[in-house]
Structure formats: C-alpha cells, structure tokens
C-alpha cells in the first residue's frame, strides 16, 4: 500500500484527493504556491451538474461525485460549504430545440440521471421570459461555494493527519526525484528540499500541464478563459440553475472563438450569478467587455427582470481542459508513482469528490467509496500517449 502521498494543488480537486487519501489512512502532504482554493476554484460558480453531461465517462464520474458531495455534506456539515440541492432547469428557445433537448434528456435518463420534462417552465421559475416552449428539470443538479468547499475538505483531511504546505517558494514543486527503477521517491520544491513520496498527485488544475512536465509526465492541459457576472444582492428571484440548452453544445465545443450561453442562478448571499463564457486566449487576463455584454444580453433574454438589476462584479478564471474535453485521472505509465487529477474544465467543482475517490482507489489498487479503477478507464492518461512516448 502507498503510504506517503504528495498532492500538488490545494484547489477543490487537490483538497478532495487529500480528503479521500487521508481517509484511507495514507500519509498526505498538500503543496501549493498559494492558499486553499485560490486558483480556478475561486473563479467558478460552484456547479455540480449532471444536466450538461452526455452519457459517457464524464457523466459516470459526475454521478458518483454527486453522491459523494452528499456524503461530504453529511460528514462536514452541508452549511460549511453552502451545499444546496437546488436542481437545474434547462430551457429551450424553440420547439425544435425542445425536441432535441428532450431526446438528449431521454438518453441521460437511460444513463441513470433523473430528468423531468417541464412544459410550463414558469411554474418552476416564475420570472422566466414568456414564450419559452418548455424545458427539462434536473433535480440532482446542485451548488456549493467552491472555496468554502475546498477549505472544508482540506480541513477534514488535516484532521485525518494530512499536512498543508503553502508558500510561493516552499509550495512550488520544481521536479521529481526518482529511484533507479524510475519510480517516484519524492518531489523537489523551490526552497530546495525534497518531500519524500511514494506517489505524487498532479491536481494543479490549469497549471497541471506544467506540473506534469516538471514531474517528467507531461499531459496536455490548456487554459480556457471564462467570465462570470455577479449581480447586486436581491430577494430570491431565481430558484434553480437555469440555462438555455445552447450551453450543452458549448461545453463540448472546441471552437477557438468566443462562446457564451449563460447559466443564471441565485446564491445564498442573494446575488445572481451569470456565467460561463468560453474563450481560448491562453492566459490573457484582459477584460472583455463584449463578452460581458453578451452574457448580460443572454441573461436578460431568459429573465427580463434582470434588465433593471445591477452588475456589481465580474470575474474571470482559466478553466483547465484537455483536447478531448475529458479530465485526466489516473496513474501515468511513464513515471510510476505519478497520478494525474486535472483537466476538469468547467466541471472541476462537481467532479472533485469522485476524482479524489478515484485517485485514492488507484493508489490503493482497489475500489474506494464507489470509485473503481477498472470502471473509469476512459479518463486514464494513457489516451494521450503515443507509441513513442509523450505527445508534443
């Protein structure tokens, strides 16, 4: 059994890996240049979505994760990270769109997702625009406050004996130390010391590509910029996560240009979040007012009352994605001991607990908390490896 595990990254995925590995009795150290949840975790909306995923490997992981979020809520207290099983409502803007959405939902239902066709969407969301032909209600969709969730998971890991090492120098991993057999024996940090490790988990999110390279096990993880808008605090006006069916197409898209299709939802703090533009512009941090205007227009089209509501904040983050839009979770065959857990794109919050459980299962060599290494093979890094070695 693996005893010493170093988790690189204190985002929600790293925290979930630490939580599960520590729960399984391993000796865990989490390292990060910054504090808990300061990267992409703090730039998301906290989506735990089944509704946007088509049947396949990601949905399988998401279904497990949905269950594990509930378990984490029972264990850590659902209020400690604002876990809310509010449900999702996906609406179509045309009869043809509705037919396609219903067909999609039927396939999800067959894959184990609870779906409820809705004809009168304003029964569920009274302030939706008139004239929407219908939609689908996904009662399992939920929400957490991502930074609080990462912090709660990491705190629980620490209670189970894990350590958290943070700091711009001490928390920066610069390379791997390997034994004669090529197996990981430790990681080197920028402060020059070596943390002994039997396994290293690459949970560095958007920086997972770089961390993989430093560990000698590169994976292709690219940044995708996303803006999220936050409104003034209001009395409850939007009850579910509401989005137009176009979002489902955008999540899977690989087009380079700007794509937006907004997700609108209320938060416990009273603000309404309008999210999810997607641009492939590298790590460009510049404000894009056109994107903000587009998100606003789409949100107002769904909920006309929003026209008179103020935007008080916008933030952007860089979602980590792999070229095939699936996360990479599992051991890297090139450097024994390296386990990847990154590339979750916009679904990292939702997929975190199952990713942590699956990583732990790989480390244990047996199923853990419902995660079976034999069942999630489509997420393995092997898919990127050509015969000759690492991809460019």
């Amino acid at each position: 059994m693996t005893s010493k595990v170093v988790v690189v990254g204190a985002g929600v995925v790293g925290a979930a890996c630490a939580f599960h590995a520590a729960s399984a009795g391993m000796d865990v150290t989490v390292v990060d240049r910054g504090p808990v949840g300061a990267g992409t975790t703090s730039r998301g909306e906290g989506n735990i979505l089944l509704s946007d995923k088509e049947p396949g490997p990601e949905l399988d992981l998401a279904r497990l994760s949905r269950t594990l979020w509930d378990e984490a809520g029972e264990e850590l207290g659902p209020d400690s990270f604002e876990l809310e099983s509010k449900g999702g409502l996906v609406v179509a803007s045309s009869p043809e769109g509705l037919a396609a959405l219903r067909e999609f939902a039927a396939r999800q239902e067959a894959a184990g997702v609870r779906t409820e066709p809705v004809d009168r969407v304003r029964d569920l969301e009274p302030h939706l625009a008139p004239g929407i032909p219908g939609g689908v209600h996904y009662p399992q969709d939920a929400q957490v406050q991502p930074v609080l969730a990462a912090a709660a998971l990491l705190r629980a890991a620490v209670r189970r004996g894990a350590r958290f090492r943070t700091g711009e120098v001490t928390g920066e991993v610069t390379g791997a130390v390997t034994g004669r057999d090529g197996r990981i024996t430790g990681v080197r940090t920028a402060s020059g010391d070596v943390l002994p490790a039997d396994a290293v988990v690459n949970a560095a999110g958007t920086w997972g590509g770089e961390v993989g390279r430093r560990l000698g096990a590169p994976v292709e993880v690219l940044p995708r910029r996303g803006f999220v808008l936050v409104t003034e605090p209001l009395p409850p006006m939007v009850r579910h996560k509401v989005y137009s069916a176009d979002y489902v197409a955008n999540v899977a898209s690989s087009d380079a240009g700007l794509e937006t299709s907004c997700v609108v939802e209320g938060t416990r703090g009273g603000t309404i979040l309008i999210g999810a533009s997607r641009e492939r512009v590298g790590f460009d941090r510049a404000m894009n007012t056109a994107v903000v205007a587009r998100l606003a227009a789409q949100a107002c089209a769904l909920f006309p009352f929003l026209r008179g509501v103020h935007l008080i904040r916008a933030y952007r983050g860089f979602r980590p994605y792999c070229p095939d839009h699936l996360p990479v979770v599992g051991p890297d065959p090139r450097v024994p001991g390296v386990v990847h857990a990154c590339g979750h794109e916009g679904a990292g919050i939702g997929l975190a607990p199952a990713t942590g459980a699956l990583v732990t299962a790989h480390l244990l060599g047996r199923p853990w908390r419902g995660a079976d290494p034999a069942a999630h093979t489509a997420l393995l890094p092997d898919r990127f490896l050509t015969l000759g070695g690492a991809p460019e």
Binding site: P235, M237, P304, F305, V309, H310
Partner: protein, 90 residues
Amino acid sequence: MNEITVDGEPLPFVEGQTVAAALVAAGRVAWRTTRTGRRPRGVFCGIGVCFDCLVTIDGVGGQRACLVPSRPGATVTTATTVTTGEGGDE
C-alpha cells in the same frame, strides 16, 4: 416648492440637492434596512462609494441616494424592491 415623494410622503428639497441631501436636511438619518442584521442605515460616505444609502427611485432599485439629484415629482421608496416588468414589484 420643489418636492419629491418618499414612501408616499412629500419631502421638500432645494434645487441642486441630491436625494440623500434632501433626506438629511429633513432630519432623516436612516432609511434602509440591512439584509441580514436588519440594521438601519442612511448616508455614510456621501460620495457613491459605500452603497449604504440605496433607495428605489421611480421604480428603479439600487440607486445611491447620495448621487441622484432630486427632481420634482420623483418617487423614492426605501424598501428593497425588484422590478419584474410583469405588472408590479415584489
């Protein structure tokens, strides 16, 4: 005489005064209630930075009383409202 209406009551103002200045001139120190603690709030920074003095003006919420000039006949309400555009506020 110049007047605005605040929660249904007429309030005089001097041309050039903001809504907040008119309220303060009339002796009002508080007109908003905080969301969580239900605490009274009025004008604090006076220059549009703190958002303590928020009111609804002519049906539009989230207005900083310290920035918006009083206009004859303007209707000011102090309770938090959201205009739904569906025939009423809630």
